[in-house]
Symmetry: C2
Subunit: 239 residues, 2 copies
């Protein structure tokens, strides 16, 4: 698409998905959608991105995916795929260059078990800042997050590897990254002080071309988040 601006209710639908490409319906600040953006970039897949206003979704988008979720992929033949881990695995299977998931069934299962485990960490990245804003005591939540991050730190330490599943970036790194990118904006970055291996991992991730290509600066995340919690989400913030 020629625009990054979000499509809202009442907007005209974008044209058909060009042959030889794939389309991602996304939202510029959605960490789940960023997973798919990371995979598209890392694998060098020819694609376009249509950003969706998630508060006022266009009818034509809801016709494609009645759940209205991002990320959603659409192929030139009109196949629709959603749920971030499913979209990412689909992309990795259809586009064989730069495989991100291991071909060995046990190693692949290991990545999925890690992802399942990580899905229980994600809620803390929201609960803590939101709890703090409303003046709640979040010390128990903070303790739990610390414990979970310590486990990830221990994993890297025991494995003696640069990335979550070895010495090169694989799918699991990209699945985890988007929330770490937001830690500074969410004022959670100090949690990494007690987890030096994990901190080094975030520094390595920041050097990755796909991460560089898809990321926003902390201030931009803050800008969007501020508009979001004020109930006036500015999906085009910073454009």
């Amino acid at each position: 698409m020629s625009t990054q601006k979000s499509f809202a209710k009442g907007s005209s639908a974008p044209g058909p998905v060009p042959e030889g490409t794939i389309r991602l319906y996304s939202m510029r600040f959605c960490p789940f959608a960023q997973r798919a953006r990371l995979v598209l970039q890392a694998k060098g897949i020819k694609h376009d991105v249509v950003n969706i206003n998630l508060k006022e979704k266009p009818d034509w988008f809801l016709e494609k995916n009645p759940l209205g979720l991002v990320p959603t992929l659409e192929t030139p033949s009109g196949q629709v795929i959603y749920e971030s881990p499913i979209t990412c695995e689909y992309l990795d299977e259809v586009y064989p260059d730069n495989k991100l998931l291991p071909s060995d069934p046990f190693e692949k299962a290991q990545q999925k078990m890690m992802l399942e485990c990580y899905s229980k960490v994600v809620p803390y990245f929201y609960k803590i800042p939101m709890g703090k804003r409303s003046g709640e005591d979040v010390s128990a939540l903070e303790g739990e997050l610390k414990e979970k991050l310590a486990k990830l730190n221990e994993h890297l330490k025991t494995k003696k590897s640069n990335y979550m599943a070895g010495d090169s970036i694989t799918m699991i790194d990209y699945m985890m990254w988007p929330w770490f990118e937001r830690m500074e904006g969410m004022q959670l970055k100090h949690f990494l002080d007690g987890t030096p291996e994990l901190k080094k991992w975030t520094e390595r991730m920041l050097e990755d071309p796909a991460v560089k290509e898809t990321m926003h600066a902390p201030d931009t995340h803050i800008g969007f988040y501020t508009s979001y919690i004020a109930g006036k989400a500015d999906y085009d913030y910073g454009l």
Copy 2:
């Protein structure tokens, strides 16, 4: 194993997993573990089953899987795999006979999207009977379950297929089955009266050899469930 009886804290660990087989740590009445049992049966995989007392888990089991979950798979080389969809996909990849997941990436993604959607139906199979027991008004929950089952019915009707993804049983049917098996015991079977296609699907499923091999009669489910809600789960009920 020569016994179906559950292993509790203090029990001796079973011997090593014999070469050429795989071991399933299970619980006879766990619907998630039944998913793996269905796949093992349907694919004719040589395996043994070690049933775990989930209230008093043996230390040796927690050493293998600190999360203490069933299903857990263990290979002769000591690889450990858990989370029901991950175990089932692992089995389907490692044992190529009788493939249950499609090889086409989009069709595979479709099965996973259906499973994700179905995971939002599962809680109702617990919430409604438990709510009823404690005298709560469950009419809203019942309405929601009806709506969700109607969607599955519509799916079968539109697809004009005998099973969820075509005219033969595939992975998604086995992923969904265990809760339907328990509907009669949970006094939820009348919900199928309004969904004739889904009812026919359950009747077809009951004819499947893997379902027949892994299922319990409604009375047995009731017997276990009664012991479970009384806080004295009898994992060996009916043996």
